[in-house]
């Protein structure tokens, strides 16, 4: 639960930050509307793609194609073949989405690394060598959260607010451990 709270607050700040960045810098290079005209090969002219930032009502070949490759009477025939499409996008949405996604992914990765690598080492320091080594041998389970049971029992005995948080976290760990057993070891679900 603590992890989730931490995550939520971080996520919120990231969101705010992303919005701020988007507002301040603005996106000038990549406009959010375009009129794209694809003109197929015509006579000796090769096919062309034209892109222009115009409003929807102006989105036709005559407005978009600058420096018409053909002249005079051919313009109409050339333009008849072109297909012009007005398209909109929101680059801010894309940017914010990708940033949010990456930050969540990054946080999860950090948390994963912490749980799998850092936490066992910390626990080892805190609770002494002999006890842990012995337990490792006992269970033979080197997966993350393997010590959830113990911590759970310990934190239940001492009851203050801080430990409640840890208790909730350990309960979640136990649940995940249970899920992992049923999916990967016993293969009773999702195989």
């Amino acid at each position: 639960m603590a992890a989730r709270a931490r995550l939520c607050s971080l996520l919120g700040s990231v969101l705010a930050l992303a919005a701020l960045v988007g507002q301040v810098t603005g996106v000038k290079n990549f406009e959010d509307v375009r009129c794209k005209c694809i003109c197929p090969p015509y006579k000796d002219q090769p096919g062309h793609i034209f892109n222009k930032n115009v409003s929807q009502k102006d989105c036709d070949c005559l407005h978009v194609v600058e420096s018409m490759p053909v002249s005079g009477p051919d313009v109409e025939a050339y333009c008849l073949r072109c297909e012009c499409k007005y398209e909109e996008r929101s680059s801010v949405t894309i940017k914010v989405t990708v940033i949010i996604y990456l930050s969540i992914l990054g946080l999860l990765l950090l948390y994963m690394v912490y749980l799998t690598l850092a936490e066992p080492i910390l626990k080892r320091r805190l609770f002494g060598h002999s006890q842990l080594i012995q337990r490792d041998e006992d269970i033979g389970d080197h997966q993350p959260f393997a010590n959830a049971h113990d911590v759970l029992a310990r934190s239940r005995s001492r009851a203050n607010v801080l430990n409640k948080v840890e208790y909730a976290q350990q309960r979640w760990k136990l649940q995940v451990q249970e899920q992992r057993k049923s999916v990967f070891d016993r293969h009773v679900v999702l195989s």
Binding site: R81, R89, I94, Y101
Partner: protein
Amino acid sequence: MESEQLFRRGYYRNSYNSITSASSDEELLDGAGVIMDFQTSEDDNLLDGDASVGTHYTMTNGGSINSSTHLLDLLDEPIPGVGTYDDFHTIDWVREKCKDRERHRRINSKKKESAWEMAKSLYDAWSGWLVVTLTGLASGALAGLIDIAADWMTDLKEGICLDALWFNHEQCCWGSNKTTFEERDKCPQWETWAELIIGQAEGPGSYIMNYIMYIFWALSFAFLAVSLVKVFAPYACGSGIPEIKTILSGFIIRGYLGKWTLMIKTITLVLAVASGLSLGKEGPLVHVACCCGNIFSYLFPKYSTNEAKKREVLSAASAAGVSVAFGAPIGGVLFSLEEVSYYFPLKTLWRSFFAALVAAFVLRSINPFGNSRLVLFYVEYHTPWYLFELFPFILLGVFGGLWGAFFIRANIAWCRRRKSTKFGKYPVLEVIIVAAVTAVIAFPNPYTRLNTSELIKQLFTDCGPLESSSLCDYRNDMNASKLVDIPDRPAGTGVYSAIWQLCLALIFKIIMTVFTFGIKVPSGLFIPSMAIGAIAGRIVGIAVEQLAYYHHDWFIFKEWCEVGADCITPGLYAMVGAAACLGGVTRMTVSLVVIVFELTGGLEYIVPLMAAVMTSKWVGDAFGREGIYEAHIRLNGYPFLDAKEEFTHTTLAADVMRPRRSDPPLAVLTQDNMTVEDIENLINETSYNGFPVIMSKESQRLVGFALRRDLTIAIESARKKQEGIVGSSRVCFAQHTPSLPAESPRPLKLRSILDMSPFTVTDHTPMEIVVDIFRKLGLRQCLVTHNGIVLGIITKKNILEHLEQLKQHVEPLAPPWHYNKKRYPPSYGPDGKPRPRINNVQLNPIAEEREETEEEVHLLNSTML
């Protein structure tokens, strides 16, 4: 009672020949206050071991069964936790629905009392719509996030947009004026890895560099996905549809629709899609939407406390999921109805419709693909189709059916291997290997290197004058006067090479999909199946087109395909093929056709789609009746009672019920002469999930049914909270506490947790009826009685075991006659003739030993959940 009477009337007219039992039957129906004697047969002692043969029992009917009272009328002091379920247990739909009606009545009766109560009742009435609105909003937003992030990450394998790192390839070149007609995806802003690292855009060096980077990214995405799944939420793997189907049919998998599952599934789905594995995001999106539905239902007590109501929200959520996955709101509703839902009343239909609408609206306003559509591969055709084309369409249907049958067989065999052998112990390694093989083989072929949705889009798109891909490399005459209808043209070299590449891509996809579906990352099946169908369809389409071009004088083409006419649209064939293959795998029909037609927006192609999908279903069903989801449900042994299957056997309830003949007697509770200690011992010694409550050991008549979980919770809370409850306290399920000696401790009243109206059938009820009751009412268990005496119990699991057992035997399997005869003599005439009903069907005295079936049951028990 009602049901019992119904069945007796319908099926029991002829079944009792013996006068004794007939009279006792009538008296049972009459009810109260009768004292009667009857002789128990020797086999009745399966109820309790110590009853000796031929004892005269005196049975007192206390008349305490008021069948009109409901379970919850008596809940004066609700004990927290009673009425909930354990993990991996089946819910009792009937009980949940009763509970909901009760709650509804309570709120309605209070409504007039005050303005606050009125507001509460309004809130209650609206909460259904609120929760589906929230679900729709959330699933639309998450689908948008997944779409955008997956597109970006997929393109990250090739290169990066230097100007704005968060743009994918297409968005990067969006405003660029430097794209050319031939190479329309090239622009200076987008740099491939080779350009960035070694500074070369062309040549073998850059190819190798790109190849290496492609494999590197694919492997790292796959590794990240599988390790996140493994560490945080193992339930996030797979497509999720089989499990959701099971959950919707009334099964509890705790944490399957939880917050962590939602988060990890969303995050890893993007990684899995981006890693280029042969999987899609459509199935997992349904799971994501269902997670949203479940999480939001916790905000509303109406849904959070009632498992049956929660499943209505989940049905709506799955509709929203498909709605955003395919941009097909109506298709989503039909998908929920046809494929996933178990209980789908009209109210749920409207809510699903609304949820699908909201979700589609949100996704549309996010506009993730920049094409103002909900899906990448939206296409529009306006060309007509001709009658003779039905033949190739049906051929595609046959291909789809064959592919479906092959895929189901192969994938299930592979998954069974994973489940049962040691190989399943290495999920991370498996994912890495599959990803590596996929990446190494996929890169050289341009059609497999592409994102699968992109590939489908290319295959669906018709070759207009604006297309420049090699699939559209026809020999053109430049002076063609027509602008819109491009006539059939001879294929150029580009098309021929494209066909070769497509054939290789087809084989590759077929093989890889079999091995990919079921690995421990979120993996959907819709997109790869559609891709396979689209490839096959496009190949067939081009072949028919060329055939029509070169042989336009054949009698079938003569009428429609004159020279210079546009009669064959290969893109349409790709679409029909995609529908056929998806239909072959999932065995959906109506919803699939609607989904595809919503994808294309062309009403005129409904008939070809229907023909292909129906053919593929027929062909697929010829090889095996179940779709991939049912097959996975069966593989995992989920308690799912399929409403589509028919039960055609002639077995009776007595053949299915537990305890079997060799088992220990049925564990029962008595109404008022057991102590707390007795019950605790019984609970500790047995593993049953519920116990029938009978009047007394002597009379054996049914009073009600108490669930194990409720009993444990109630006794535990009573021991804590009520004074004077000790091990020797009497437990009383009856309305009136019996008179006790003065010095005895206070009795514990547990009437509130007793289900006073358990479903009962008599021992001679045919199993077809029992199976029907279970399916239609969603029962969890059903008691089997004989003359009002509890004989045994049938649970959903027993029925599933029975079905499985019957499937393996030669059908029809009549009950072994000796077994019946020995067990229930009263139901037969003095000469031991079987009941008349059995005479109607062929009685196969199969020499089937009891031991064998017993052994099988054991085997089943070990494999079943």
